[in-house]
Amino acid sequence: MFPKLDPLLHSELRLAVMSVLAGVESADFTFLKAQTGATAGNLSVQIDKLATAGYIAVEKGYKGKMPCTTCRITPAGVEAFDTYVAALKEYLSGGQA
């Protein structure tokens, strides 16, 4: 019996966002946009979904006069990400996803 994959993470852009945030303290919206290659609108929607699930924390502020959105992964997000990766590895060791 394979473990169920978290549907929230099983999306290309959301998974990319979580992968970036898993390796850093926090990241600006612009950095996330550059790293994922997503459009601002789409990225914004996916960030909201991850924030609503409690996987990431979003802080809106200003850098000088420019608005700045900073995201960081939460402990719940780290746990969900680790569980997702472990599930993927199990799929791979046991057959096709």
């Binding site: 998974l15 990319a16 390796g23 600006d28 950095f31 550059a34 993927l88």
Partner: protein
């Protein structure tokens, strides 16, 4: 997405992110390397032409110019975040900065000592540890040559000729920046 595609995406994204962060850290090495080279050559030239070692006081202007320049270099619109390795590199060089300034100030105002010997050894150690953190052998070797070779040279060389050791250190730092930048391109 298949499980394989998901894992590949995670691995690629993390790798790209790590590269971007470390590439960004190369700026610091390059900036301080160029500054060290320029300051050492300028002070060497002034000392050599006037015969006065008092020009060494100009070293205290280096952090005053360097830190604002570094802040400017890292203040970009698309700010690159920091990871564990980047933070460690920052801490290594911050410790080096604190020790260098403190020892120089002590040597000038309180306890006379061979500043070149002390600073060049510290510089070599900081460079060497940076290489260890980055797992980069050329940087480790550069640091060892600078620290150990520099210590011997600092005793053998006299007066303004010692400053050329800092020129070498500056060049090695700038080269380290180029190595890091090309390694994580």
């Amino acid at each position: 997405m298949t499980a394989q595609e998901s894992l590949a995406l995670i691995s690629e994204t993390m790798n790209n992110c790590r590269r971007a962060i470390l590439r960004n850290n190369s700026k610091g090495f390059f900036l301080w390397g160029i500054l060290l080279t320029v300051f050492s050559l300028v002070i060497y030239f002034l000392w050599h032409t006037t015969g006065s070692p008092n020009w060494n006081l100009l070293w205290f202007a280096m952090p005053l110019i360097g830190y604002p320049l570094a802040a400017l270099a890292y203040k970009k619109k698309d700010a690159v975040p920091q990871n564990e390795v980047g933070r460690m590199l920052g801490q290594i060089w911050a410790v080096f900065g604190v020790f260098s300034i403190s020892i120089s100030a002590l040597a000038v105002f309180a306890v006379p000592m061979n500043i070149t010997l002390m600073i060049v050894v510290l510089l070599g150690i900081a460079e060497c540890i940076s290489g260890v953190v980055l797992r980069n052998w050329p940087i480790i070797v550069c640091g060892a040559i600078l620290g150990i070779g520099g210590a011997v040279a600092a005793v053998l060389l006299k007066s303004e000729a010692q400053l050329l050791l800092f020129t070498l250190g500056g060049v090695l730092l700038a080269v380290t920046g180029l190595i890091v930048k090309s390694q994580y391109r």
